[in-house]
């Protein structure tokens, strides 16, 4: 590949990847009256900030729902994943080699295959339509990936270290508390970023399990707004920016860990 071809490809690809971003920004800053299909690409004549105030008023409660849901579910599933990973990496129990793949498969199933009983179950235990039902669901279906990432991460901790702690009289929880946990920070960063992004961006569970608008996460609210016909496009575009911002910030500031989680998501640790 010659230099020219190389740079031409990179340039064209950059245009392809950034065009939508440009369009979102200029549309979000246009006055509703100035938005027309034939002038899509022109920059706004007057920068109009009110779209963001409007989008913020409409979406602030949904963003709050998303934050509460995402943070709670992420922390719970990371904690459980860490304990599970510790058990699977350091304590062999009979049948572990059967249990582990069965657990992992849960990560790949299409959730449509469990959605009907899940919907009924959440309703029957009285969590239908609430954020807590959604939190429970995200914690449970997050377990395979968090367990996998922690297991692969803890497998790198030398067995001698664990042995030494045991010689010093540390038991099961002592080893976790004094040896494994202090070494866990990078593992937690990867898992938390992965779960945060996944849960923030999730749609299928949110749209089926949360019916009341008061509890909707941002993805559902955005899909409904953009699906409406009479809406001016400045609002969905400003909303899309708001909905994208948290995960984009995570990606920009913690990109290295984001990519590590991404690659761990394809099973290899």
């Amino acid at each position: 590949m010659g230099r020219i071809v190389q740079y031409a490809l990179l340039f064209l690809a950059t245009v392809f990847f950034l065009l939508p971003v440009y369009l979102v920004v200029v549309t979000a800053f246009k006055e509703p009256a100035a938005i027309s299909l034939s002038t899509t690409w022109q920059p706004p004549e007057r920068w109009y900030w009110e779209s963001f105030t409007q989008a913020w008023t409409a979406f602030a409660p949904k963003l709050q729902n998303s934050f509460f849901l995402t943070v709670t579910a992420t922390l719970l599933s990371a904690l459980m994943g860490s304990l599970n990973g510790y058990v699977l990496a350091k304590w062999r129990f009979p049948g572990a080699h059967i249990v582990f793949p069965l657990m992992l498969f849960g990560m790949f199933i299409p959730y449509q295959a469990v959605l009907i009983p899940l919907f009924q179950f959440i309703r029957d235990i009285g969590l239908g339509g609430s954020l807590w039902g959604l939190i429970l669901v995200h914690v449970v279906y997050g377990l395979p990936i968090t367990t996998l990432i922690f297991r692969n991460y803890y497998a790198e901790i030398p067995d001698e270290l664990v042995e030494a702690a045991r010689m010093d009289g540390a038991g099961f929880f002592g080893i976790y508390r004094h040896v494994v946990l202090p070494l866990s920070l990078p593992g937690f960063v990867v898992v938390v970023i992965w779960q945060f992004t996944q849960i923030w961006n999730e749609f299928l569970f949110a749209v089926t399990l949360v019916s009341s608008p008061a509890n909707q996460p941002i993805t559902v609210a955005l899909a409904q707004l953009a699906g409406g016909e009479a809406v001016k496009w400045n609002l969905p575009m400003a909303g899309a920016l708001l909905a994208a911002l948290p995960t984009l910030l995570v990606y920009i500031f913690l990109g290295r860990y984001f990519i590590r989680g991404l690659l761990a998501g394809s099973v290899k640790g």
Partner: protein, 375 residues
């Protein structure tokens, strides 16, 4: 039991992992079983019963599945399968091709590599809903992408991105058994040839005999096997092109990251050795680098393939749930179950999705975990 509980620590380990195992057992395997049992009933067939507190549900066996594949009313499901097939093929080609090209271009050390990498990967951080909302606006029939040519003075495009009703490559559903046999037969023949070349004679013979049998069946009985009493045509809906475009935009950064990691793992000495032997740049890639990337391609195909089989939110956000030309099975399951209240039929679609995903994922998991044990 006694052996297991002899050590206190083993007991604690068991205790710690037990809640997760129970939860996953119920939420994954229990619920799959329940969905399967539901799919064998007529729940929702009578609208009056669908939403009642104590619906009367009858067992009807595999009737829902039979209707989906060969029944008169469920033509939409069959078109969805065709959509899914074409979507998957082009999505894979797009992501693998663009990802590989970008990875090679980045691997050859351009200036500003970090910037390019950041740009190509950022869509991965977005929700399919956000991507869908943005691309829905990009692909408005009279605006967005269709207006792009006017920026350089050309007439505007007039492609009906998400609303087109045009179909190409139409085929009759009745030819499906034949085509399936043809594809399976050719794949088996390929396996046979590569087994012979790799010196695995017995495996080759088995594969060759299976290939011959499948092809023979396809050309004789397969031809006369007609699932439907009439011809029903399905094809590639051009409205899907916009969705494929958005999906490639979102996911090709992932293949780029995979390929780039792979390329960076190839030792420089190997490239040097090939160059010393007089290999041209093209030959270097053709005979040294691409073969080393083959396992990555396979992994990427499996991961992207299972994402594609499950695609739901992107279509929902781009074309809405009720746009038939861009419908896919995952979306149809949602509509059938939660809008039309045809619960048993929805369950059947869910199980069909599961089987398709399992066919892709189970061999993959098996291979990955086996190689891990060996390591």
């Amino acid at each position: 039991m006694t052996r297991f509980f002899r050590k206190k620590d083993n007991f604690y380990g068991f205790l710690v992992i037990l809640p997760s195992l129970v939860l996953l057992g119920v939420f994954v395997y229990g619920f799959i079983l329940q969905t399967f049992l539901t799919s064998l009933t007529d729940w929702g067939r009578d609208p009056a019963q669908a939403l009642s507190a104590n619906p009367q549900i009858r067992f009807i066996g595999f009737e829902n599945y039979r209707e989906l594949f060969t029944g008169f009313v469920d033509a939409r499901f069959r078109q969805d399968l065709a959509n899914l097939f074409f979507f998957t093929v082009f999505f894979l080609i797009g992501c693998l091709g663009l990802g590989l090209a970008l990875a090679i271009a980045l691997d050859r050390g351009p200036r500003g590599e970090g910037f390019f990498r950041t740009v190509f990967l950022f869509p991965m951080a977005l929700s399919f809903i956000v991507t869908g909302t943005i691309w829905r606006w990009m692909l408005q029939p009279e605006g967005g992408v269709n207006q792009l040519p006017t920026l350089v003075g050309l007439p505007k495009g007039d492609f009906a991105w998400l609303t087109s009703r045009e179909q190409v490559w139409r085929f009759s559903w009745n030819d499906l058994p034949f085509f399936t046999a043809l594809v399976v037969g050719l794949v088996l023949a390929f396996v046979a040839v590569s087994a012979f070349c790799g010196g695995q004679g017995r495996r080759g013979v088995v594969a060759a005999i299976s290939a011959a049998l499948v092809l023979l069946w396809g050309f004789t009985l397969g031809r006369s096997l007609q699932p439907l009493p009439y011809d029903e045509y399905h094809g590639f809906n051009l409205a899907l092109i916009g969705i494929i475009l958005a999906a490639v935009w979102q996911m090709s950064g992932y293949t780029m990251a995979l390929y780039l990691a792979g390329l960076r793992g190839i030792p420089e000495e190997l490239r040097e050795a090939a160059r010393v032997d007089g290999a041209s740049e093209w030959q270097l890639y053709r005979y040294v680098i691409f073969p080393l990337l083959a396992p990555i391609t396979l992994s990427a195909m499996i991961i992207l393939g299972h994402i594609s089989l499950k695609i739901f939110d992107l279509v929902f956000a781009m074309a809405g749930p009720d746009n038939a030309p861009t419908d896919v099975p995952a979306l149809l399951m949602y509509i059938t179950t939660f809008r039309a209240n045809q619960i048993a039929k929805g369950a059947a679609i869910g199980i069909i999705l599961l089987v398709m995903v399992a066919l892709v994922i189970v061999p993959y998991l098996y291979r990955q975990l086996r190689s891990e044990v060996r390591r």
